[in-house]
Amino acid sequence: MIGERSLVLVLLELALLVLLGPLVTGTIQKLKARLQSRQGAGLLQPYRDLAKLFRKGTVQADTTSGFFRSIPVLVLAATMAAGALVPVIRAGPPAVPLGDALMLLGLLALARFLTSVGALDAGGAFGGMGASREMTIAPLVEPVLMMVVFSAAVVAGTTELGALAAHRGTSWILGWHAADFLGFAAMLVLLPAETGRIPVDNPDTHLELTMLHEGMLLEHSGPGLGCMVLASHTRQIVTLGLVSALFFPAAVAGAGAVSLLLGAGAFAVKILVLAVYLALVESSYAKLRLFRVPLYLGIGFVCALTALALRIL
């Protein structure tokens, strides 16, 4: 396999993902505010929040172990490593072997695991509650994500995301097979769960008992909380990038600066479309009761399973 994306390009894409992550959150929040007839904070508010958090000092509970301090850094590192596997500007396998889609899902799962361990370590009731719920939801989401990846990978014969994207080519809408529709439907069902949004989780509050992800961040403060927040921004854009790599990649050929800019622009448009989708879903649905969540995710599971069945049978 010939590498088509040099290491420099991969690093550039990674930097782009991490830098644009907060902007996606800002866009979704702004859209939600407009849909609720509010003015809302500016698009750059997440950046300001991050800057504020990184300037602050750290306070932590007496009960925490030494491991607690390193958790935010580890979570951020795992999420960023997952980001390196997503083809952003150009499709095609990277020049250096980095890992495939399963590695990406594994890294995201690792980040999730570390977050829960941190929440349990602090010993707070809310953290423990959030962690236990996150661990209830995660096993329902991850296998379905894997099945969606498999249903795309069966055709391409590889699980490497760049190669998958390249296999689909630029004329993706014409080349969509029946299974792709179902896989994409499954992905649309799972996206709110994976990015921690309504109807599965509520990202705006950590005061309700319904919270999942926000509850686990309660014990963190200062730069540590900044790392955790940045990691969740990155996780969101990585998930959106995974969807676009699987279902509508831009395989712009050629090396020049123009094609790179074109690829970056196409990526921005795709992420924007998915962000609008998330904002619409968040504004038009209520948060589900925790016991209803498995059924909701079950729709995604059935869609993914049917997609896989269509591919294999």
Partner: protein
């Protein structure tokens, strides 16, 4: 249109039909089930249009038009009207848990694909995945009818089941005689009207539901 294009389009429509069926099976509110079944009938009409263009069969155009007006617009509207008249919000009331119904639906879909794969030469003669998709729609519709207590949801199941039969018939025969299709449509309309009137009457005179009828003693 070439045969391959038609096959791809029918395959894609089949996937979307399966998706609407999953939505119907998983719907927690009757409104969503009605919208999903309307979308399903719309897709069937589109499939009819595609097959009509491919085969040049004028009857198929007529059938697609009737499907669009009757099954995608009028019947969902009637259901909607009945739901509003009865003033009920969440009346899906499954007999077995929703998750179990979904699991059964998966079994139905996978089995129908598996079984039609074993048909061999018969399968080859049919456009794309129309046969397994049609079978799974029909059986899932029956599943919905069997696992819901209220008459309205059972009606949705009946429509979905009927859609499945219609889709298979269109794809297998490249257009049945017009008179048969119209007869089938009339049957469905009649069934819908009878059920709608009966549901309203039963509700207004004795305030009972279909499930309560089991406790009747002769």
């Amino acid at each position: 249109m070439s045969a391959e294009t038609v096959q791809t389009v029918i395959d894609n429509l089949g996937a979307l039909l399966l998706f609407t069926m999953i939505l119907i099976v998983a719907a927690g509110q009757i409104y969503r089930a009605i919208y999903a079944v309307a979308a399903q009938s719309f897709l069937i009409a589109v499939a009819g249009g595609v097959l009509a263009t491919a085969t040049g069969n004028v009857d198929l155009w007529v059938i697609a038009g009737i499907t669009l007006t009757v099954k995608a617009i009028v019947l969902p509207w009637v259901l909607h009207w009945v739901v509003r008249r009865m003033n009920v919000r969440r009346e899906i009331e499954p007999v077995i848990p929703d998750a179990a119904t979904l699991a059964l639906a998966v079994v139905v879909v996978v089995l129908s694909f598996h079984l039609s794969a074993s048909l061999g030469p018969v399968r080859q003669a049919i456009t794309g995945n129309a046969l397994p998709v049609g079978i799974s729609l029909t059986l899932s519709g029956v599943l919905v009818m069997a696992t819901r207590k209220t008459a309205l949801t059972q009606m949705v199941g009946l429509f979905a089941s009927e859609n499945g039969i219609f889709f298979t018939a269109m794809a297998v025969t490249q257009g049945m005689p017009l008179i048969i299709e119209i007869g089938v449509i009339l049957d469905v309309i009649l069934a819908a009207l009878v059920m709608a009137i009966m549901v309203l009457r039963v509700r207004s005179t004795v305030d009972a539901d279909i499930a309560d009828l089991e406790e009747l003693r002769g």
